[in-house]
């Protein structure tokens, strides 16, 4: 019984040592070989809608409680894209902030209704101070598989 326990501890130790050097994988294995620039997706979303893409970027934000999304920086300044995963399927760790990630997933869009006070910007026809509703289309990637380096 004792030798069986020692063998179990030995296997556990070797597994941990072997895993230490790889990037951490999440979800499905990445199949695509070529990456798409995030700026390409942000600037031509209609072209990528519904398509599976492989993107790379720095993790600039992670869902603190459930790890169900993370934001990747674009190759261009002031741009980023959100990678959303099904709750519990993949959990991104908060300590990954600042690290590089390679993500494979499907581009999709959501419509978000926002409210703002009328300020006549962009030629709005409304009374100053009036609450205006606006529907915004946001593009995200439904993450299927990821490697955090």
């Amino acid at each position: 019984m004792k030798s069986l326990f020692k063998l179990f501890i030995g296997i556990l130790f070797i597994t941990v040592m072997l895993k230490a050097d790889e990037g951490t994988k999440y979800g499905k294995e990445i199949e695509l070989k070529e990456t798409t620039k995030i700026s390409e997706i942000i600037n031509n979303p209609a072209e990528y809608l519904g398509k599976t893409v492989l993107v790379e970027g720095t993790i600039i934000n992670v869902c603190a409680k459930r790890g169900c999304w993370m934001e990747l920086s674009s190759d261009k300044e002031f741009e980023s894209i959100r990678i959303k995963v099904n709750d519990g399927e993949i959990i991104f760790p908060m300590e990954a902030k600042g690290q590089k990630a390679l993500v494979e997933g499907e581009v999709y869009s959501i419509n978000v209704e926002t409210e703002h006070k009328c300020d006549h910007k962009e030629g709005e026809s409304c009374e100053t101070g009036e609450q205006k509703k606006e529907v915004k289309t946001i593009y995200q990637i439904k993450g299927l598989g990821a490697v955090i380096k």
Partner: protein
């Protein structure tokens, strides 16, 4: 050996094996049950400090060095990103800084693991997937066996057919009552 003795042996030995996992799943169960009230995986500390920015904001490396120097932070920089004209994010190991150029202010966010509980949550929520999925399945099956064998261990007045049945009925009714109330 009669069937009661067999059940007793199964219940005892399976109980020994499952002890560690029962503790992991129940501690994590309490932890994730209160998601809305606390973060079961991390302790996040946010502090804000005022800084003096360099005169020119063109050289990002210089800005980062200047800020880290003022904050006496010695950790090496993992990466940085500018989400907007006035904001710069600096990422360090276990720490991230959000610099606001407009207000000359920096928010320091420190993330620490809740060591032990985080690992338990990871196993409970099946983050490792792969082989752990089957270990978790076996554990669930073991709990069913523990539950069933446990019913038949005590003989006589404490047995299932006497006093025990009322406890079993109460245990079954409890979730049903809550389902009826909340659905």
């Amino acid at each position: 050996m009669n069937w009661r003795k067999i059940f007793k042996v199964i219940h005892r030995d399976l109980g020994y094996i499952c002890f560690g996992l029962v503790i992991i799943y129940s501690v994590s169960g309490i932890a994730v049950n209160h998601f809305d009230e606390w973060n079961p995986n991390y302790i996040i500390n946010k502090t804000e400090k005022n800084i003096i920015l360099p005169e020119t904001l063109n050289d990002r490396e210089l800005i980062i060095l200047s800020i880290l120097d003022q904050l006496a932070i010695k950790d090496s920089v993992l990466s940085s990103f500018q989400p907007s004209q006035n904001i710069l994010q600096i990422f360090l190991k276990g720490k991230s800084l959000t610099v606001n150029f407009k207000d000359s202010e920096v928010q320091i966010e420190e993330v620490k693991n809740r060591t032990g509980i985080k690992e338990m949550n990871s196993l409970h929520l099946n983050v490792p997937k792969k082989l752990w999925t089957y270990v978790a399945d076996l554990f669930a099956l073991s709990l069913i066996i523990l539950g069933i064998t446990g019913l038949f261990i005590a003989p006589g007045n404490s047995g299932l057919m006497k006093r025990g049945k009322w406890f079993v009925i109460a245990g079954i009714l409890l979730p049903i009552i809550f389902l009826l109330i909340y659905q």
